[in-house]
């Protein structure tokens, strides 16, 4: 079966696109899928450091497109997962070095050898974004439960509809259950109500994400991390499994809190 090509985008920068790509890729490959992820952020590459593969880069995506190397030579195999590959972005070029038709050609060559092709889109709605969505079968839009991120996600969803890429599926990243409970953060329901699109994952704020990126080991490797669990669930949903959303209300009821205070739990 040819690969599913999934682009992860957001509009706003800094909401966790690259983290989402790295973690979903790790989660899919851990379950035995053949995965290649492509860093579409030319000039500002980061997927390599998040995956811990920055020291292995020889060739990049622009080298492939301009014919300086073969596709296989630019593919870096992950240290732990033999079925996970990265095609890094060029760091010294800009987004105009690649066109949407270049991307379509590149992805066509990968489709038959993989189960999933994940494309990390740059922020914004310009050339790099257009390149990233051109070959996509499916687009995931990452947002945070925060006013500017939701607004930008809405713009991107509108553009995806206009370009006939479907409305996209939403990942709500960095949700803080305590703030939501205190009515100081938009809840997942609020965000869904505003954006009116399909939900594919809710990822709680988790300090392990930063620890993981410091080490170049995405949290999806960490069986105890709640964010890691949320990303593993997204991977399962992409494979067509029905997985319930995490119950993030971990503060529990009054009695649980009292018991915890009393040191009984």
């Amino acid at each position: 079966m040819p690969a599913q090509v999934i682009t992860i985008t957001s509009g706003k920068g800094g909401v966790g696109k690259t983290t989402a790509v790295a973690n979903i890729a790790v989660a899919l490959a851990s379950e035995g899928a053949k995965v290649v992820c492509i860093d579409g952020d030319i000039g500002l590459r980061n997927l390599d450091v998040i995956l811990g593969l920055e020291n292995r880069i020889v060739y990049d995506i622009v080298d492939v497109i301009e014919g300086r190397c073969r596709l296989r030579q630019a593919m870096i195999r992950d240290k732990k997962l033999p079925e996970l590959y990265l095609i890094p972005a060029a760091q010294t070029r800009d987004k105009n070095a690649v066109s949407p038709s270049d991307m379509n050609r590149l992805i066509k060559d990968l489709r038959n050898d993989f189960d999933f092709v994940l494309i990390d889109s740059p922020a914004g709605i310009e050339r790099g974004f257009k390149n990233a969505i051109a070959p996509a079968d499916r687009v995931l839009v990452v947002t945070n439960p925060e006013i500017s991120a939701v607004r930008d996600a809405d713009r991107v969803i509108g553009i995806l509809e206009a370009e006939e890429k479907g409305p996209g599926a939403l990942i709500i990243n960095r949700l803080n259950p305590a703030l939501v409970k205190n009515h100081d953060m938009l809840s997942a329901e609020d965000v869904l109500d505003l954006l009116a699109v399909e939900l594919i994952g809710i990822v709680p704020e988790d300090e392990n994400v930063i620890i993981g990126s410091n080490r170049g080991a995405p949290v999806a490797f960490d069986p105890k991390s709640r964010a890691g669990q949320a990303f593993r669930n997204i991977a399962k949903r992409l494979r067509g499994e029905k997985v319930p959303f995490l119950d993030l209300d971990n503060t529990g009821g009054f009695w649980q809190r009292l018991q915890r205070l009393a040191g009984r739990k």
Partner: protein, 91 residues
């Protein structure tokens, strides 16, 4: 949000965010600024009142959303013809 904010009836911040977003998204999706929307409303009222008499007090024009599509919803009560005729005669 603190206890005192709530005590003094200050709206919680998530609700403000949601309300502000609802308005911003309407304008982003329709590419209409609030001023343009107001002038559209004025034009609509002027056009309709050229043909029938309307009850300006009870009228409501606003944007609603149904999923991702926006609609302009106008509820414009018309003054009854009989009442209008009587009003004219008594003048």
């Amino acid at each position: 949000m603190g206890f005192f904010d709530r005590l003094f009836g200050k709206k919680n911040s998530a609700d403000s965010a949601k309300e502000r977003l609802q308005l911003v998204l309407i304008h982003d999706r329709t590419d209409l600024t609030p001023a343009e929307l107001d002038s559209l409303k004025d034009d609509l009222i002027a056009t309709i009142s050229r043909h029938v008499e309307i009850d300006a007090q009870a009228m409501h024009i606003g944007m609603e959303h149904d999923g991702r599509s926006q609609r302009l919803v106008a509820d414009i009560p018309l003054k009854a013809a009989a009442r209008r005729r009587r009003a004219k005669r008594s003048k």
